[in-house]
């Protein structure tokens, strides 16, 4: 039993060690772009006429990490009471799914957008007020996707 424990421990240490060595020796290989212009948008990811386009990526919703979230609201969509609202949400993040919810107007727990998919949301702004727009999936950029806002004014 002691030998088995030692074997397990040795394997675990070897794998962690190999990962560590890889981590230290391979930094020069990184070629992942951090430019927002390098995003590949899914087909159908087009701003609807009179509506809104939201792009989910490693930079949040519409580059929200560069717009003061979570303290500030971003993105902010202003509409009129009674207006037909159309929002196209694109997941341009190649690595993970993202969610999209709007308090009161679009709250559906099973709505998630796979990498490269496009979600089209339409509704009538029937109640005035300020409504939070957010992602409901615990992705790595989750914190930056909690501060969107839909403002419906009379």
């Amino acid at each position: 039993m002691a030998n088995r424990r030692l074997l397990f421990l040795a394997i675990a240490v070897a794998v962690i060690g190999a990962s560590g060595i890889l981590a230290v020796t391979l930094p020069g290989l990184n070629n992942v772009s951090t430019s927002t212009s390098a995003l590949t948008l899914p087909s159908g990811c087009v701003k609807p006429a009179g509506g809104f386009l939201i792009i989910a990526s490693q930079l949040g919703f519409n580059d929200s990490v560069n717009h003061g979230v979570p303290e500030d609201n971003w993105p902010v969509m202003n509409v009129r009471l009674g207006q037909n609202v159309t929002i196209v949400v694109c997941n341009a993040d190649p690595s993970q799914a993202h969610g999209f919810q709007i308090d009161h107007y679009y709250v559906a727990q099973l709505v998630s957008i796979a990498s490269g998919d496009v979600l089209r949301v339409s509704f009538v702004a029937s109640q005035s007020g300020s409504f939070r727009v957010y992602c409901q999936i615990f992705c790595t950029i989750h914190w930056a996707m909690q501060s969107g806002q839909l403002i419906v004014s009379a």
Partner: protein, 264 residues
């Protein structure tokens, strides 16, 4: 962009230490708590774990309806394969009386791997975000103190299910403390290895990690089934409040990991 070496090392260390603390707490608690209560606690933790991982797996593509797209089929197949392979590996799991034949460490390690495989996806997400972020600090890139605390608490809670699998077989009260610590180190290592490997892969590659979560979701069911054996322990006695106590233990497990998620 965060530097690769520091990112992976910090991520691995934080995840490992968190897991070790969680596992050690369960092993320590098993000295004075009946295993069935720990199993109920693990059940509560698992309920949230499953929901959380299901979201990461894009709900197995259920939003696509009956399209039978390649993505939907792949997600479902990976879930089924993960579940089936781990159940098939442990042929004594549902056999009364001989289930302890593998030994506590083996069962604990397999359960840790079953739970930890979803970490391959989490690590890949982490690595990819680290490579893409405009921030220069790990804290800022992942949402600051609150989100970091959430990660630490999650990684403490999740492997407690594997620890319950372990203590349900090991006679911790009679064992040497050093042997238990070694076992805890091994179980924590196995739980964390997929996360570390994932972070390395995710930093350098671009692919959809959803499929890994579907696989990990399936494999994790094994850990629930294994830990669940300890829910029913006639040898531990019973009283009229047992069901209520078990419910409270399950609620405690669920609420603790839920509270951790609130910080996210």
């Amino acid at each position: 962009m965060l530097p690769f070496g520091a990112t992976v090392v910090e991520f691995g260390l934080v995840t490992f230490i968190s897991a070790l603390v969680g596992i050690s707490l369960v092993i320590g608690a098993s000295r004075f708590l009946k295993t069935r209560f720990l199993a109920a606690f693990a059940l509560g933790v698992y309920l949230w774990y499953f929901t959380d991982t299901l979201g990461d797996a894009n709900y197995l593509g259920v939003n696509e309806g009956f399209t039978f797209s390649a993505e939907l089929v792949a997600l479902v197949v990976l879930f089924v394969v993960g579940l089936t392979v781990f159940f098939a590996m442990d042929r004594r799991m549902f056999t009364a009386g001989v289930s302890d034949g593998y030994g506590a460490l083996v069962v604990g390690v397999v359960a840790a791997l079953a739970l930890g495989l979803h970490g391959l996806g989490e690590g890949a997400d982490f690595g990819f975000t680290a490579a893409q972020t405009p921030f220069s600090s790990l804290f800022d890139a992942f949402g600051g103190l609150s989100a970091s605390a959430s990660w630490v608490l999650h990684k403490m809670m999740e492997p407690t299910i594997a620890a319950v699998c372990y203590v349900s077989i090991a006679r911790v009260g009679n064992g040497k403390a050093s042997a238990r610590l070694t076992d805890a180190l091994i179980i924590a290592s196995v739980f964390v290895i997929p996360s570390v490997v994932g972070s390395v892969v995710g930093y350098y590659t671009t692919f959809d990690h959803t499929y890994i979560f579907a696989l990990g979701l399936g494999t994790s069911v094994y850990a629930l089934a294994r830990a669940g054996r300890a829910l029913y322990s006639p040898s531990e006695g019973a009283d009229s409040w047992l069901s209520v106590k078990m419910a409270l233990a399950a609620v405690l497990g669920f609420l603790l990991i839920f509270i951790a998620a609130l910080l996210h």
